[in-house]
Amino acid sequence: MLTMNNIGKIYQTEMVQTHALRDFNLQVNEGEFIAVTGPSGSGKTTFLNIAGMLEPFSTGQYLLDGVDVGKLNDNQRADLRNQKIGFIFQGFNLIPDLNLYENVEVPLRYRGIKASERKRRIEQCLEQVGLASRAKHLPQQLSGGQQQRVAIARALAGEPRFLLADEPTGNLDSLMARQVMELLEQINRDGATIVMVTHDAELARRAPRNIQVVDGKLADFTLYQGAPTANAHVLEGV
């Protein structure tokens, strides 16, 4: 579903060049649930942003469902984000002036789905995250965990096949974090591919596949296989 070949990302600021990613290679298959860990500043968010087409990469090739992302224009990328990708952010990123219903509606409007279908989906998604009764509330009236569940409902509403989450539990206490994790696991069982960046080792362990980003490079190992992969030596150096 997602293939990155030798992706490199350089941030050019006045004084310094930062190689946020270098020779980044990754293959993600349909239906996977991947936890991405790594030290702060190692390039996890950069990877997720490129995967979600939120920013361009400097070198390499990125194929999403066989589409060469590097060849798309801005509108095509926006449309592809809208259709295929659901985002979950650490800061929830709900729109403060819109109530929960309207927040979940945002990506559906950009897709041009008609009102009755929007309503059906929004109600279903809010139901799924257990907040159907709060549809008319504003985000600020909810707890952090509830807000993140609304954000998940928003990500789900467009029925994306690919969910990207950047530290979705980073701002939540452990109880709420577990609830969010359970929700994501449920969504994964329902068929969505999930890539989740997290600092929480316990949550990461629950994911079937873990990858680690260190200094802009990938160290891939799969917990459920019980043994480190060939890349494991990279980790030992950390």
Binding site: A78, F87, V106, R109, Y110, R111
Partner: protein
């Protein structure tokens, strides 16, 4: 893909900025439409053609304090003297000077009063048969007075029985254009219309009938006598410079005063209007500028406040055009409400101004025209910031917390 409803709802949830902007737009519309109309009204007024060869005509007054001369005789001597000066085309003593702001007017009727009949108001100017030529007027119909028809008198009852009139005046009394030869009445005194001249301005430019004039062939002895002189092209300045000393040489016991060129009289008469017009133009420019800046600033402020939201929307699939559209729609909603309020306010303000000043009714076209211009201006002010908003990178969504 119209997003009016959610944009409207979002606006209603944080409306302070929007309300301020809306009021600003309303006030701008109200004031600018009225100011623009007043300017238009003044411009047409100032641009009106008086009908005179203003550059070559001037007037002055002779105030006689000497008691040893017959005033009437002296006036006639003065007229002859001035007419014979080199460069002078013609000169005449007149009871009132056009464009000067002072004179007399009365109602003229079709039947002797107190009988009720049609009535038209006109300024009247008394003088001899040189008046028309001095003012440079073209006869359209009929003829000028003869010198025999000029009545020279001290009595109020002894009046001429012929008059020459301007076309606008006689057409008001005789709309069919058959005024020549008719008799009109000033009170109960009849006068036959023997000539019709082109329409020129009377003493008051701001009169409701500025070009209604009746010329009466009458000379009265006056201690203060107005004279009007028409010169050959280019000769006026020199003649005006010397006229005082030359007249005093003829007879010294008097004062020459109010020596004024016709074009200058007009400017002096209008100085207040020109000042007001300039102030209104400045007012419009300032208001429009402030409103445009307000819209520009509010949109920039909204964008910086909503940077993360915009990034998130982009991440969720908004195209750049959708972001631009969002701000345009939002701005249009604020503007439209402001403009509707502004139109009513403009109408009300127009009514108030009309009641308190001599200003005609504000035409609806001015309100609509101003509203449209303000709307266009609001789009111009918002389009730049909106484009900047669209350029916000979607990566902001994950980068800023």
């Amino acid at each position: 893909m119209l997003e009016i409803k959610p944009i409207f709802k979002a606006l209603m949830r944080s409306k302070v900025g929007a309300v301020l902007l809306l009021l600003q737009i309303a006030i701008t519309t109200a004031i600018v439409s009225n100011a623009a109309f007043i300017i238009y009204d003044r411009v047409t007024y100032l641009a009106q053609d008086t009908g005179y060869d203003e550059e070559n005509v001037f007037s002055f007054a002779i105030l006689t304090f000497g008691k040893d001369r017959d005033l009437m005789q002296q006036t006639e001597l003065d007229e002859t003297f001035i007419r014979n000066l080199p460069g002078v085309i013609d000169a005449a003593a007149m009871s009132a000077v056009p464009l000067s702001g002072s004179g007399s007017a009365t109602g003229f009727t079709l039947k002797p009063q107190p009988e009720i009949s049609k009535r038209a108001r006109a300024a009247y100017i008394q003088g001899d048969e040189h008046v028309l030529n001095t003012l440079g007027l073209t006869l359209l119909e009929g003829r000028n007075f003869t010198s025999d028809e000029v009545v020279v008198t001290e009595s109020a009852r002894e009046v001429p029985n012929v008059v020459v009139v301007t076309k606008t005046f006689i057409d008001e009394l005789f709309p069919e254009g058959n005024g020549l030869g008719q008799t009109i009445y000033m009170g109960d005194l009849p006068a036959k219309v023997i000539g019709i001249v082109e329409s020129v301005s009377g003493p008051w430019l701001k009169d409701s009938r500025p070009k209604n004039i009746v010329f009466i062939p009458l000379m009265k002895a006056m201690k203060a006598q107005n004279f009007v002189v028409r010169t050959e092209s280019g000769a006026r300045e020199e003649i005006m410079k010397n006229i005082e000393s030359e007249l005093l040489q003829q007879y010294p016991d008097r004062v020459i005063d109010w020596l004024t060129a016709f074009d200058k009289s007009k400017d002096e008469y209008n100085a207040g209007d020109i000042l007001m017009m300039r102030m209104l133009i400045v007012l419009i420019a300032v208001l429009v500028g402030v409103t445009a800046l307000g819209i520009f600033g509010l949109t920039l402020f909204n964008i910086s406040k909503r940077t993360k939201q915009i990034g998130t929307r982009r991440a969720l699939g908004a195209r750049k055009s959708a972001i631009i559209r969002y701000f345009l729609i939002e701005n249009s909603m604020i503007s439209l409400v402001g403009l509707v309020i502004g139109c009513f306010a403009a109408h009300t303000l127009g009514q108030l101004l009309m009641q308190h000043y001599e200003i005609p009714v504000l035409p609806i076209g001015y309100i609509i025209g101003t509203a449209l211009s303000v709307f266009v201006m609001s789009w111009l002010a918002v389009i730049g910031p909106a484009k900047r908003a669209a350029d916000i990178s979607p990566s902001i969504a994950t980068r800023s917390i």
